[in-house]
Symmetry: D2
Subunit: 138 residues, 4 copies
């Protein structure tokens, strides 16, 4: 449905003593991919919060297949394959420069009304932005 | 089978601008709990690597239920509920001081022979340590 | 004048591929020591922000003498050697379990009025808390 | 002498609850700038370690002038203004998109012989790479 490739290099501070990119860093990599996809669709994350909606993460899953090493140039492929309803699902694949698949995973974001601090359905302006983006691709 | 509670405080640098402990930090919290449980059983992580076995993470799952805030004193409850075979499964619950459940999750570690760089079954000294620990509790 | 020892263990995710605690992590260690010292004096950091004062860091210096390794139990010795005026100076020494000095450094915090977003002098309640704490030690 | 601009965006996970890029993250930003400058000169960091030389950080200083916010596109300006002798000095300026100066600082790296684990002078291949790079600019 919607897919976006983000590129980033593994920083020295992100490696651990095994010489791998630390497993917890993938959450950050996923977030970078998510933000860029959301920006591309035309929903600047900053604006979402300005409109009184928070999108906290409700689920994270990562499956690690091969390690990423220091200075590796990674591709974070972020995909949205369904229209968000009560949550926003982002699916991920991470590749290195040899196009080896290093990891897969997903993140679910909830929509939370900041005033009432309770879950809400996907706001209309998010759905419209997604539909407009998909329409513009046809 | 085996369970261990670790306590740690959310650091300022671990919060994000939502005012929550950043979702990626739970991977680090889980790791702290895991290391302490493994130490308690009598398998110092450092020694595992010294014996030519690495235990890279193969899967991470976190379900976020309530946010953790700066300076919250968290309890990371780490459990091992089955004898490891091809991987080592750690299950998690995270609580705040009010004993509210903030998150659940699990981590699977693989066993990797460092020389051949391939997965192996759980090493004998790991299984023995677990059995001895459980036996000592009976 | 005032000194406080905090103990923390180097986490796996804090090491880098040199096998050392990553140099950027000391900023976080310093912050943990600072928060604990400030709490001990009786100025809970959380309250400071609630009173409309932010204490952003204006300067960080670290001198690295010896590496810290994974699982090392560190002592972060935080000292306040002068009454804060336009900034709050924290001085640091980091030791390992062998009492080897691993690093020294300091952090300067500014006092910022959150409403006007400009630097202010040390608030009265901070100075009083310090004086009361020192007085109680005499 | 040598200067290099690196661009990076502040990640969500790098902010703290003040809404600023966490002060400890600048160490990581500096490292990214340093690695890119060193790569540009033609000294791939990876190779340095392969030649038995480590370059641990011996000093870090950061002066924070203005905060960086989530999603800000930062310019990390890294400069080498003197030929390295017993240490390698990198000087830094950090700007936001409005070209406001957010921070200045420096990092000193030592040269360490990995076999003997002791400080050494700047290796010849490092000096030659610097001289060749400067020569090529004349």
């Amino acid at each position: 449905m919607i897919s976006h490739d983000t590129h980033l290099r593994v920083r020295y501070g992100e490696t651990d003593q095994m010489g791998y990119a630390y497993y917890g860093k993938y959450a950050e990599y996923f977030e970078v991919g998510r933000v860029e996809l959301v920006r591309k669709i035309g929903i600047p994350y900053k604006e979402v919060e300005a409109k009184g909606v928070m999108m906290p993460v409700s689920e994270l899953q990562v499956n690690y297949k091969r390690p990423a090493y220091y200075d590796d140039l990674l591709t974070i492929r972020t995909s949205v394959n369904e229209r968000p309803r009560s949550y926003f699902l982002f699916e991920y694949e991470v590749f290195n420069e040899k196009e080896e698949l290093l990891a897969t995973g997903h993140v679910k974001l909830a929509f939370v009304n900041m005033e009432k601090m309770r879950p809400v359905r996907a706001p209309q302006f998010v759905l419209e932005a997604i539909d407009a983006y998909i329409g513009s691709k046809d």
